[in-house]
Symmetry: C2
Subunit: 367 residues, 2 copies
């Protein structure tokens, strides 16, 4: 029995545990708050994840469950589509899913978003266990209950808020994760320190190496603290009307860069967030909110981790400003920025002078 951490996302009768630790998949049935015995279990995964991790889940549940069905979909964002969703629903229904069935999503954000959505609408919702296998999905999708697919009109425009019955984050799964994706996930870990956990940022300054080298204890602490930080913000604002917007630190700039790069792998989400966090700090400095020293500390931390802090392709400020203003978060022509008064002191501001933003883009592009 390995040591592991458990934290509870507190949402009244929709509360659930997140278990974090090394090798947890082997004991999955002991970690979920429902008895798998005699139930039909449906596992959704992608072809990359199938071999090691979904197999571990299968091995852990197969003697207990009445039966186990497995479906793999293509890896990548394209599987978050109406077609794949309908495909998954047909698979569930043709295999006689019922309300006592259990759905397990084993994979990164795509599998979690797609699988959670399918679980939330088949038979009007069946119990759903989330097994994130990337650092990004462990620290981001584990908390918040967001599910969804993309449509011709944009990303994540159709979906539900649906809470899993448990999240099992097995740090061993990260051993098969490509370095670049590990780093992209790490940007979101740093984000939680920068929002409202200065002590955690301090800890990362010392333990960044341990986390990135997959030291089990360091990873467990980093993931648990990230989930805790997100859970605290989400519990205060489950349906995303106010405080939850703090989680967009670095995302307003980052999304514009991602959109410009074209979601083709040129710039991963976490890489955009890394650059975006630097720019959010620079904007805050320009507005007299934080110091040049803060900007330097954040930039160095990300850069030394191996994350990009400069815009890695050619573009111009006009294009980026336009992309920013067509974001779905724009309300009445105004964009809410996450600014900061220093490390771990982020806050929301809906009244930023867009000329300052343009200056930040221009400076960043001339570096």
């Amino acid at each position: 029995m390995s040591t592991h951490k458990t934290l509870t996302v507190d949402l009244g009768d929709r509360s659930y545990p997140i278990h974090i630790g090394e090798g947890l998949l082997d004991t999955l049935p002991d970690l979920v708050p429902l008895d798998l015995e005699g139930r039909s279990v449906f596992i959704l995964t992608d072809q990359n994840v199938f071999m090691p991790h979904a197999q571990s889940v299968l091995a852990a549940v197969k003697d207990l469950a009445a039966r186990v069905e497995i479906k793999t979909v293509m890896p990548g964002e394209r599987s978050k589509s109406y077609d794949t969703l309908q495909n998954v629903l047909n698979w569930l229904l043709e295999n006689k899913v019922d309300r006592s069935s259990v759905f397990i999503a084993v994979g990164g954000g795509v599998i979690g978003d797609l699988g959670g959505f399918a679980a939330s609408i088949v038979m009007r919702g069946i119990p759903y266990i989330q097994v994130p296998t990337t650092l990004l999905s462990m620290v981001d999708s584990s908390v918040g209950g967001k599910t969804g697919i993309n449509t011709a009109q944009g990303k994540n425009l159709v979906g539900t808020f649906y809470q899993p019955v448990a999240v099992i984050a097995d740090t061993k799964a990260l051993e098969t994760l490509p370095d670049r994706e590990m780093l992209a996930g790490y940007a979101e870990v740093v984000k939680y320190g920068l929002i409202d956990r200065p002590d955690f940022f301090e800890w990362l300054q010392t333990n960044r190496g341990g986390v990135l080298d997959l030291n089990a204890d360091a990873l467990m602490h980093a993931i648990a603290t990230s989930c805790e930080a997100k859970a605290e913000i989400v519990a205060a604002d489950e349906k995303e009307s106010g405080k939850r917007a703090l989680l967009n630190l670095g995302h307003t700039f980052g999304h514009a860069l991602e959109a410009e790069a074209g979601y083709d792998g040129t710039l991963l989400h976490g890489e955009g967030v890394s650059i975006g966090m630097v720019l959010a700090h620079r904007l805050s400095e320009r507005m007299g909110l934080c110091t040049a020293e803060d900007v330097k500390t954040v930039t160095q931390h990300l850069e030394q981790a191996g994350l990009p802090v400069h815009i890695p392709f050619q573009t111009n400020a006009d294009v980026l400003m336009n992309t920013m203003m067509s974001d779905k978060k724009v309300r009445k022509g105004k964009l809410t920025f996450v600014l900061t008064k220093g490390i771990g002191k982020a806050f929301l501001n809906a009244d930023v002078d867009m000329k300052d933003v343009e200056t930040i883009w221009n400076e960043a592009l001339s570096r």
Copy 2:
């Protein structure tokens, strides 16, 4: 200002009002707990309902809303499909729906189920007002938050539980409802009396004529009491695990008949429920639970209303037994029946001898 009744469905932070009365559509903006001013309003309806009722809603909101978009779909169960759902979602997204938009479903059960589902998943859920225009949807779909579509595998297998922000039941809408549909809705009204409201059944014994002749006060009382009865059961069991099954009084027999008839209009849902309620009382009598007098009272009430109480087509008991056992409510080969100890004294029993059920079918078929 006409008199009307308001009742609140009590579901914590998902509570909402149901307003019932004559001519309410004209004052819709005054009846909903959100300010329509400056919002984008999306109205979904079907081609039958569009002319009188959706037009009334449009007239009531158009001066207040920033803009109003209207979409009509084909009337009938076939619109509860993946294709029509995707069509409705595309319409919303192409017209730049956002989280401050309001969705209004104006129509019967199909529009409510389809529209509620679309409203619940676009942008992960936008505010939704339900305007039921049939007696069945006023007394059934107004309470419970069930949304959904049909798939190749069966009815209502994909959907959500999603509560409207308000329900507006304008009894004037029933003036355009065909008599047969009015009667089919009335079967569900009677059902609430038979479940646990013996006083209401007594009231219906006296006021059936007033209700069916669209007397505004009688209708308002019948609809309000039905919604109240359902709300009480649903509040005790929002996600349908126990007590809510009482609402299936007459439905276990009724669904088998509907399935045999082939959902082609031969037997409306409410007509199946009417026959089913008679058979549920006969089964209860056979098991020594209620009296022959109870059976007679129920049968006469329905028959005198003009509802069917005999199976109106050729079939046989084996076929009906098989259909019953393939119902989605079967768990481990057992079917839960709603039985009764007399008028307004229904209860659940998961241990009925299927030989008794077969006898009831055979008796009914030989009448």
